[in-house]
């Protein structure tokens, strides 16, 4: 709640900055982000981070482990709150929102790909991919079924729609997770080490797929990785060193 007070002070300033940045073009923007963890000992992991992700952009964030790159991704993804600074998504300041409102923002504007696929073993491939739509209700699920099914076909899983996740290979599971991230037609897809759990061949395949979907759908992708090879193929690379963007 104390963050809300800070927000009031800087709101006008922020709107001004957003205007200067010309933000019709931005998928998301973060301003002056500090993140301090106070888990017993106080550690500051992010220092005054400013970042704009443009629409349709394929952005790689790279950095050593512990550099704060995952924390930054979580803040962009409204999973974590910054200690100081603003997160603007779709013209709204996420810091001012309640937990459930942020959940709905994540659902409607963002797609998530994690290091591990995290598919639900109780549901089949199509149901897993449609889960973000199901969270919005029956109508949303019905409207998006054809499109999501098309995406699953596109990633080579057209004949596995009714299979359980456990019946798929690691690479295939991660493909389902990628389609799930796109199910609600989000503005931005966030991926945290999406190839980290895969062998290099599957990892290559998953990376290429994300790049391909980025170009085909025009969705912005932000990928956290420590693999320089992948980073080189991104539109833009952001290096994080000790909590600061270099």
């Amino acid at each position: 709640m104390s963050g809300g007070m800070d927000g009031m002070d800087t709101m006008d300033e922020m709107d001004a900055r957003a205007a200067v940045a010309g933000d019709d073009d931005a998928a998301t923007q973060v301003f002056d982000i500090d993140k301090i963890f106070t888990d017993g000992i106080t550690t500051q992991v992010l220092f005054d981070v400013n970042l704009t992700v443009r629409k349709g952009e394929f952005l790689a964030i790279i950095g050593a482990s512990g550099s704060g790159k995952t924390t930054l991704l979580n803040i962009i993804g409204l999973l974590d709150k910054p200690t100081r600074g603003r997160v603007m998504l779709s013209g709204r300041d996420a810091a001012a929102l309640s937990e459930d409102e942020r959940a709905r923002m994540r659902r409607d504007y963002l797609g998530f790909i994690f290091q591990f696929h995290y598919l639900s073993p109780e549901f089949n491939v199509l149901e897993n991919a449609l889960m973000p739509c199901r969270l919005r209700g029956r109508a949303a699920e019905r409207e998006n079924t054809d499109r999501v099914q098309g995406l699953l076909e596109r990633v080579g899983l057209g004949d596995r729609l009714r299979n359980r996740p456990s019946q798929l290979s690691g690479g295939q599971q991660q493909r389902v997770a990628i389609v799930r991230a796109l199910a609600n037609d989000p503005m931005l897809v966030l991926a945290d080490e999406p190839t980290g759990n895969l062998d290099s061949k599957s990892g290559r395949g998953v990376f290429d797929l994300m790049r391909e979907l980025n170009q085909a759908t025009g969705k912005a992708f932000v990928i956290v990785t420590h693999d320089e090879m992948f980073a080189k193929e991104a539109d833009r690379v952001v290096h994080i060193v000790d909590g600061r963007i270099e």
Binding site: T70, N74, G77, L79, D80, E99, D100, A103, R104, M105, R106, R107, D108, L110, F112, F114, Q115, F116, Y118, S120, P121, E122, F123, E127, M131, P132, R134, L135, G137, R138, E141, R180, N184, D192
Partner: protein, 418 residues
Amino acid sequence: MIDRFSRSVALRNLGFNLGQSALTVGVVAISVTLVIFLGALIGGLQRRLISSVTGSVPHVVVRQAERDPVAAWDLPRTGPDAPIVVGEEVKLQQRKMKIEDWAVWTSRLRDFDPDILAVSPVVEGQAILARGEKRQSISVTGVTPELHNKVVEIEDKLVSGRFFGLNGGEAAIGFKLAEEFAVRLGDKVRITSSEGTVGDYTVAGIFDTGFAAVDGRTVFVTLRDAQSLFQLGGAVTSIGLKLRTIFEADTLAARLMTQMPYEAESWMEQNQTLLSGLRAQSQSSNLIIGFTVVASGFGIAAILIMAVVSKLREIGIYKAIGATRRQILATFTFQGTLLALVGSLVGTALGVGLTLGLMQVRMAASSTGRTVEVFPMMLTGGLIATAIGMATGVGFLASLYPAWRAARVDPIEVIRGA
């Protein structure tokens, strides 16, 4: 209330963890079976105890109030003058307690309260039954059989002969009395009343009510025969009432007393000890039922907490991709409540089956071949509805804490912890 996401996740969880679901259903089912069985048994026992009291007597008896006039020589002398005595000198023992205007009161009583199911005028008195050399003191009850049967059932308890349509000069007697005197239908017995009137009666019916006092001492004759045996003219000695709600007998009797020139006595006044025993029994059975239900609630909660803990990661991901706390809360409360509902339905089937099965077990209760249930059971819709409602309610309450735990899961911790 429960959206598609919560419903589908809850149902899949249940289906995917069949063992866990079956365990929960089993815990609830057993407790509901117990509640229904215990409830039915205790209800049945109470009904049997109560009917052992009320089955042979009217629920409320209206009779002439007993008065104890003070003898003239016992009156306090307040002044130098002797007291003035009003009335005639009578022998107290011979004072008849009778209701002359019973016909009026019988019809008024029928309309007095909808709770009064039946009204029967009765002549009761002591007499000696004799056949050959054998004699025994008995209680003669003069009734209109068709009316009286609605107050105290006799017709259904007949071993042989008839009760309805009893004619003048005919008597219906208890089977123990019949055995004692070795009389059969059509045999003659002699009744000498306490008034000294003698009458010969043909045995027209033999009954077995299961109440020793009735079967071994009571002789039913027609109202008119009893009136002449006890020299009552057209009067009766009491009016018996049967009520719909037997536990209202007390209050109804009290109300009647305020509006009648007679005394009204309920079965409850005569059986205070039994009633307080029944109350204690009810309380202890409620206690047992309460503990059973609470225990099953803890069972549900424990199993659901396990389910939540094993699903922390999935819950975290659902939240990360946009599930609200409300949706997670709904998922797990729905899951718990549904388990409890299914469990209580299974338990109801088991409990009702067990109860109905035990109700079939009967044993002989008398030499006439009459049988009684070994387990007196009273199965009511109310009991079943209460058991289902209570178990489901407890399931809902028990799921609140696990659901709240689930709703509080922080997606970051799940992702970070992986």
